[in-house]
């Protein structure tokens, strides 16, 4: 037993040392994950506020509503997205994707919705990533939102566009609604072609089902007011 004991002792201490290292490592990493989750939540909440703001739009207040939305969106970028940028270096960018993805998706949703209302176009991923460049430490690899999160955010955008279309129809802006309808159909069609190439696309598949419902809702709404409401809206304009 005298030869055995020392060996066991060192083994035990090796095990203890090893696990002490693992503990430190996991603690640090979990803390970082927590910070990223928190940042993501803040991004979500504040992006939702931007979306909410955009939905306030009506024929009369377009300019001011969009101006405020733009300001709010810029604040999300500079205050919250920047926190993400600081945390995500090296392999963490992909490792922590689940932790920040919901926030980034909501941010994409807000940014693309604002852009569509402002200029009627689809905000490109490259444009978004360009706005993020100044946030990064120039000495490090800059943070760039990945295609997957962009596409997932875009899928959610459709729901917001549906709400927007309903609002426009209520106010008689049928052409606007029809423009949204075309836009949404195009996005849906393009996504059907991209989806098989996405990593783990079950989330996206669910979103596509919801999306098709949104498209059909917009189309049905356009059908519902056509051509009767249209005349009313003309009468109103007159």
């Amino acid at each position: 037993t005298s030869t055995k004991k020392p060996r066991t002792m060192t083994t035990v201490s090796a095990m203890k040392d090893g696990f002490a290292n693992y503990t430190d490592y996991l603690n640090q990493f979990n803390d970082k994950r927590e910070r990223v989750v928190k940042a993501s939540r803040d991004i979500t909440i504040n992006s939702k506020k931007v979306i909410f703001q955009v939905h306030r739009i009506s024929k009369s207040n377009r300019e001011e509503v969009l101006e405020k939305a733009e300001k709010d969106l810029a604040a999300v970028t500079s205050q919250y997205i920047s926190r993400l940028v600081k945390e995500l270096q090296g392999t963490d960018f992909w490792r922590l994707r689940r932790a920040y993805s919901p926030g980034v998706q909501e941010y994409i949703e807000a940014a693309t919705l604002y852009k569509f209302c402002k200029s009627g176009t689809l905000l490109d991923l490259a444009e978004i990533n360009a706005t993020l460049l100044p946030l990064s430490d120039p000495s490090l690899e800059p943070l760039q939102i990945n295609v997957l999160d962009y596409l997932l955010g875009l899928a959610d955008l459709t729901g917001e566009l549906m709400r927007l279309a309903m609002g426009r129809i209520s106010e008689g802006e049928l052409e606007y609604a029809e423009n949204i309808c075309r836009f949404v159909r195009d996005i849906y069609r393009e996504l059907t072609l991209v989806i098989p190439h996405m990593d783990e696309n079950s989330e996206m598949k669910k979103k596509m089902d919801v999306m098709l419902q949104s498209v059909v809702k917009i189309e049905t709404a356009c059908f519902g007011v056509h051509p009767l409401i249209y005349k009313i809206s003309l009468r109103r304009r007159a």
């Binding site: 095990m15 090893g18 996991l26 979990n30 392999t91 960018f93 295609v147």
Partner: protein, 228 residues
Amino acid sequence: YSSSSVEKQFEGFRSTLEDSGKLRERIKAVAGEIESAARFMHSGLLLVHQSRPVPEVLERAKGQIEVLKGLYSNLAEILKECPGQYYRFHGEWRSETQTAVSLIVLLHWLETGDLLMHKETEAKLGLGSSEFGLDIEDYLTGVCFMSNELPRYVVNQVTAGDYDCPRKVLNFLTELHAAFRMLNLRNDLLRRKFDGMKYDLRKVEEVYYDVKIRGLTANGDPGVPRIV
């Protein structure tokens, strides 16, 4: 609003995603081979339950470690093409790696009675370069899987006449369990696997109890009167 600009943008997405899709396919293929090598190794190691001479069993299993090493080097090679994306594809080799770790750690324990540490396991798999290492949680999960084999091993060893085995395994598992308790685990797979280790411990305790109460301990523990 123009359809064509949307189309162009999506064209770009598609080609980017297709590229990483192809990479994933290659990774999957290697992961499949890892799974197959690990399964082969597992099948060999199972023989320890059958009272086959341990050294012979271990020798054959060790051969598979070299195969695994080669496969992980292939994997590392592929990942060099997409720096920083280790965790993007991690899911493809995760469970295979946990199994491989569990086998290597078990083999080492059978040989030495010691726990093979993370760095040592990494080394055995030829990993440990800065870009492609062994994820610590995968290592720990592998260790939990390894612990699942021990109750069965103890039962079969006692049946084969090694009455001191329960004590040794109990000491090892108790130590291991205590070490794991230091970790601050999230509510995930590793946590669940660790929770399962408690049952391994309890089961080994019971075998030890059965052996002791029957007075079967090897060196005739004086505190327990031998009956029969």
